[in-house]
Symmetry: C2
Subunit: 245 residues, 2 copies
């Protein structure tokens, strides 16, 4: 198992404080900064930029994120070692810790990404110009489709959220809450205008629907008898039917 350990670097007098600008905590911000600068990558590339991209042309941070997402979903957060992630991404630990402050930061970024996406889409559907039934139905079906498109993220989301440190967990919960409340507002709007039944509190209806959405990753398999759109339509129908007065 433990191969030969060549001892080569032993003497090293010129140590002490050299450059070393960002010694401790600003590390976890590096990826965020990077992401802001080159957000939608791969699109507006200027050819000369070949740095940090291997074969596929995807920048290292994205590759790391993709590898981590897949591995976290397959084996769980705790069972995935940093070593596995960097190997899957074709780099080394040095690269990972260059862009991310910790393994946990990687997990948080996975959450942040999927939350941003879903919030955007929900807002678009919810603020559309259409009758409330239509808006709710479209939003409910859309979240199913995008969840199926990112089943890995969904699996990670509901299985590994509790692995986040208290502060990060709180932050994710907060964003999650915003999403929940926007959805609930749709139902309450329909209840006020008499389109939906008021028999069940809107909060509970939201949890009912999203419970099933989160569990898609448990039972839905691409290539099964139902397409994602069919599943989405059915689940949206169930929700709407449950809300009929």
């Amino acid at each position: 198992m433990t191969g030969p350990v060549p001892v080569e670097i032993l003497a090293d007098p010129p140590r002490a404080a050299s450059g070393k600008i960002l010694g401790r905590e600003p590390r976890s911000l590096r990826w965020t900064a990077y992401a802001r600068k080159s957000m939608d990558s791969t699109r507006g590339q200027v050819a000369t930029v070949a740095k940090g991209m291997e074969g596929d042309g995807t920048p290292v941070p994205q590759r790391l994120l993709a590898a981590a997402t897949r591995l976290f979903a397959e084996q769980g957060y705790d069972r995935t070692s940093v070593q596995e992630i960097v190997e899957a991404a074709g780099v080394t630990k040095g690269a990972l810790y260059h862009y991310f402050g910790s393994k946990e930061d990687l997990l948080q970024e996975v959450y942040a990404r999927v939350l941003r996406l879903q919030q955007e889409r929900l807002d678009a559907y919810a603020n559309a110009d259409a009758p409330i039934e239509r808006r709710l139905r479209d939003a409910a079906a859309d979240v199913v489709v995008t969840t199926i498109d990112n089943l890995d993220d969904a699996a990670i989301f509901f299985r590994s959220m509790h692995h986040l440190s208290p502060e990060k967990n709180k932050q994710v919960r907060l964003e999650r809450r915003r999403y929940h409340e926007r959805f609930r507002a749709l139902i309450e709007e329909g209840q006020r205008t008499g389109v939906f039944s008021t028999a069940t509190p809107a909060d509970l209806v939201v949890d009912y629907h999203f419970g099933s959405v989160h569990h898609l990753s448990t039972w839905y398999r691409p290539g099964g008898p139902l397409s994602r759109q069919e599943v989405a339509d059915h689940l949206a129908d169930l929700l709407l039917r449950a809300l009929r007065p």
Copy 2:
């Protein structure tokens, strides 16, 4: 942190093969055997039996299982060390590995227990002598109540199932499937007799309902505005309303 480490046992000549009856694999069966012999414990106890019971009078295997359940739910399977479990149960590793073959066996037993319980209750409600609407409603509400009564088990179930080895995972899935199918049969019966809508495949309806049930541990907090019975009634109502023709 690391206290003094007294080195006392150093000399130890008389080693070699002693008793050692069940050296390798039959280990994981010990608990099962134990459980069968003293199943409903604490009830028909003959007073003289004080072995292995501390203060509270609960036998060691049960105490271990209870401690493991709580800790797995609180921190997750991987983040709970067997050291923590045995300390919470007031014993040592020797005791744990005397009754259980591995940490994983502990997890599996948690599953097996909750599955047995829920299957029993479902069968009772499903085979009752009542109209199908009533039977489905009662079964749907009951699973909510018992899930709330064992929120820890539910949390472990949907967060840690993938930590089981493939074989054990398959076994749990199989039992889970039986449960699912009994529930689905109820819905199909109602669909055949025209009491329920056939717009949505029964399979999907089951997943819809159980998705929300599994996620109770995410949002339900005892002491909240709704009692477990109220939540159960609402969720059962939602299901029945979604099934109206």
